[in-house]
Amino acid sequence: MGDQTIQLIHDVKRASKDNEPLEIVGRRTKEFLGRATSGTILDISQHTGIINYEPAELILMVRAGTPLSEIRDTLAGAHQCLLFDPPHYGVGGTIGGIVAAGLAGPCRPYTGAVRDFVLGLSCINGAGEHLHFGGQVMKNVAGYDVSRLMVGAMGTLGPILDISFKVMPMPELNETILYEVSEAAAISKITELSRKPWPFSGACYLDGQLRIRLSGGSESVLAAARALGGEHAQDDATFWQQLRDQTLPFFRQEGTLWRINVRPNTTHMQIAGAFLIDWGGAQRWLRSEEPDDVIRDVVARVGGHASRFRGGDREGDVFHPLSKPLQVLHRKIKETFDPLYLFNRGRMYAEI
């Protein structure tokens, strides 16, 4: 437990010398995500601990193996939080895993994505060198933004060792209002409401109900709730947590689960299956048994992209395929960090 930097660098150097592929793991709570990979296990889960937390500076620096729950509890002690509200997929899930997968909760369109709160990080490259990018200040444009590049790279650019976040005050109050409407009416309602500066932190449509969460200062939230009308939802905290963690009944049913990103007001995606609208329309969860190509064609036609989130063939394309020039560029970028293709080979795309 604690600082495993020296051991992890040693393990990468040995793998580099032996040209031995590595599979980077934490607590394996997101093993379902991405393509299948294999290799000697590089276990980050023992590299734990909060290195620096200064509530007054709004900064938190942690080791990648630190469990999300520990971070959440520590921040809550100072009435602060990670505003991207990362999903907890299982007990012990690590912060490094969330950053590597780039996963944010239902508040993403309103408060920001994982990368929007990463101020800096350190990682190990394929030569076993320990590199630091970004820092612990709010604005930083020195050098290329490698910290943000590592977010969502699924470990294919190397293991992340520690991360500095911008943390934010916890909202004073959360309220949920509910409207019973059709899907088309829900999309037009949320589109229309979003043109005004309401303190939204979530907007989801499921089973005939549009739920809108309001977060912020108590006066502001109560005033908005009064003005917006609708019905007050009783189960709000539980609902949003289950949406974030994908434990709602919708996510537990049969069928491949797809994550689809489109312009918020998109309608007319004719795909057989069940939809859940999240992110105020910008993200759609789809359970469907339609072939991959059919789904991706429909989504591409409305200018979006579709990735398989759970289920289906993990040897094929899981994430939305890249254009040819982007494929080439991804390979070249991969090689700048990991010329031997040691890290999480094929986890994101077959070619990297």
Binding site: A56, L131, V137, K139, G143, L149, G152, P197, L329, M348
Partner: protein
């Protein structure tokens, strides 16, 4: 390649009225907002569409001609400084707003569209584009992406990278890519932000629009010294309030601004804070109360809450005119851009004043205190060679102070040509090597804005060998490559 051959080659890519090659017309392009360094290019090319950009890039790639991309030329770090044997690729003619999608709150614009023009265009829908660098009247969205521009409101609303949804890029190979937020794959959209024109030419940008907050109030607070004002900044942020903007000015800047603009800042103050709060009415009232309590607790000698929109704009007019106002105090000024943890603001400002005395150069401070982003303005006379040299050394020392205080050498202006040496201090050789490899992945022949933003490893190893922490390196006039 002969200049005449270069111009003939460009003529095959774009119409002749899109090429500038005579000396008089080239003059305006010899520098950007960092006027201390100048260089004429062979030619300036002003393409009118993406096809022309692609043709110019393919020609330059085949002929090994360096390309320096340029928006409005407002960079403060020399990011658009021309190369002697190269061309300037001006995006100024790609200045159309292509689409305003009110329902999805986004605008699709060409790179030469001015920052402020976006907000002006969408104001009728109650929307605006949040990043507001002080040059927003002139600077372009393309340039904002290249520099990851910030501004007064980025404390609450983020930098350019947080407000861009998608970009189209022509790579140095002449190929096109589209990068979209939340898309699978590497986050190249984030990587392109702040890459200072070294990785590709951005040809189209989709920006996120926000709904105008219904209420905004501004609080002006005076303090007897910068340390008290600095403590008030740290205290306010830690109280949980995130203001829309939180700016500080010191004595020299206050006096210069009061003489220049009718903004009514308290004459006897040694430091002022300008704090803006926005949101809905209830929220703003709640926050104004908290902010005034916090400032009083931290020793504010005078507190003023703008009662009308006119008064609010008057307070901001001083801040927005502060740079030109300081500019009247001396023939030239040199603007520094380090960012530090807010808790160190007081200490670092004190050390800047000590260095200012030591070097015999006045320094005025006008800056984004809420972000910890300092903008010391060193006053000097460019015609005095010794004074300019002292200014460069003092600027370098202030940046090193920022690194020592746990900060960075640039918060929003970019590295450009002026902070290459400090990059060698902030980053290890392995990290610089990683940056250089990334550059090669995008641009193997290094034709895009060569020599900017990322130093060579040779420069760093020589500099680290020579580096003397307390002062100038020996033999400063020997060129270092």
């Amino acid at each position: 390649m002969l200049n005449s051959d270069l111009i003939a080659g460009l003529s095959a890519c774009v119409p002749s009225d899109s090429i500038i090659a005579d000396l008089e017309a080239l003059r305006p392009y010899e520098c950007d907002g960092l006027t201390a360094y100048r260089q004429l290019p062979v030619a300036v090319v002003l393409p009118k569409n993406v096809e022309e950009i692609r043709a110019v890039m393919q020609f330059c790639l085949q002929s090994d001609v360096p390309i320096v991309p340029r928006g409005a030329g407002t960079s403060l770090s020399g990011g658009a400084q021309p190369e002697k044997d190269g061309i300037v690729l001006s995006l100024a003619r790609l200045n159309q707003i292509l689409e305003v999608d009110v329902e999805n709150r986004l605008a699709r614009v060409q790179p030469g569209v001015r920052n402020l023009a976006v907000s002006q265009r969408v104001a009728e829908f109650g929307l605006y584009y949040a990043p507001d660098p002080s040059s927003q009247i002139a600077c372009t969205i393309g340039g904002n992406v290249a520099e990851n521009a910030g501004g007064i409101h980025c404390l609450k609303y983020g930098l350019t990278v947080h407000n861009v949804l998608s970009i189209d890029v022509v790579l140095a190979t002449g190929e096109d890519i589209t990068l979209t937020v939340d898309a699978p794959g590497y986050d190249l959209l984030a990587l392109m932000h702040g890459s200072e024109g070294l990785l590709g030419i951005v040809t189209e940008i989709t920006v996120r629009l926000l709904a105008e907050p219904p209420s905004a109030r501004t609080v002006l607070a005076a303090f007897d010294n910068v340390s008290l004002a600095s403590d008030a900044v740290a205290g306010l942020i830690s109280s949980g309030v995130i203001p829309a903007g939180l700016e500080m000015m010191d004595k020299l800047a206050i006096d210069a601004t009061n003489q220049f603009a009718d903004c009514g800042y308290p004459n006897d103050a040694s430091a002022i804070l300008i704090c803006e709060l926005d949101g809905n009415h209830e929220e703003v009232l709640q926050q104004v109360k908290l902010v005034t309590q916090m400032f009083t607790k931290n020793g504010a000698t005078d507190l003023h809450i703008a009662e009308s929109e006119d008064e609010r704009l008057k307070i901001w007019s001083g801040r927005k005119n502060a740079f030109p106002a300081v500019g009247r105090l001396s023939p030239d000024y040199y603007c520094i851009d380090g960012t530090i943890p807010r808790k160190n603001l007081g200490d670092v400002l004190k050390q800047i004043y000590r260095l200012s005395e030591e070097y015999g150069l006045a320094v005025a401070n006008v800056f984004h205190a809420g972000d910890g982003n300092l903008h010391p303005l060193i006053l000097y006379d460019a015609s005095n060679v010794d004074e300019f040299h002292r200014t460069e050394v003092l600027g370098g020392q202030i940046l090193e102070l920022c690194i020592d205080a746990g900060g960075t050498i640039t918060g929003e202006h970019g590295v450009g040509v002026e902070k290459l040496d400090q990059m060698c201090i902030q980053f290890s050789e392995a990290e610089i090597a990683q940056f250089r490899l990334l550059k090669q992945a995008f641009d193997p022949k290094e034709i895009l804005n060569p020599g900017k933003a990322i130093p060579t490893l040779t420069r760093c190893s020589e500099l680290n060998g020579l580096h003397v922490h307390a002062g100038a390196i020996p033999f400063p006039d020997i060129e270092r490559f």
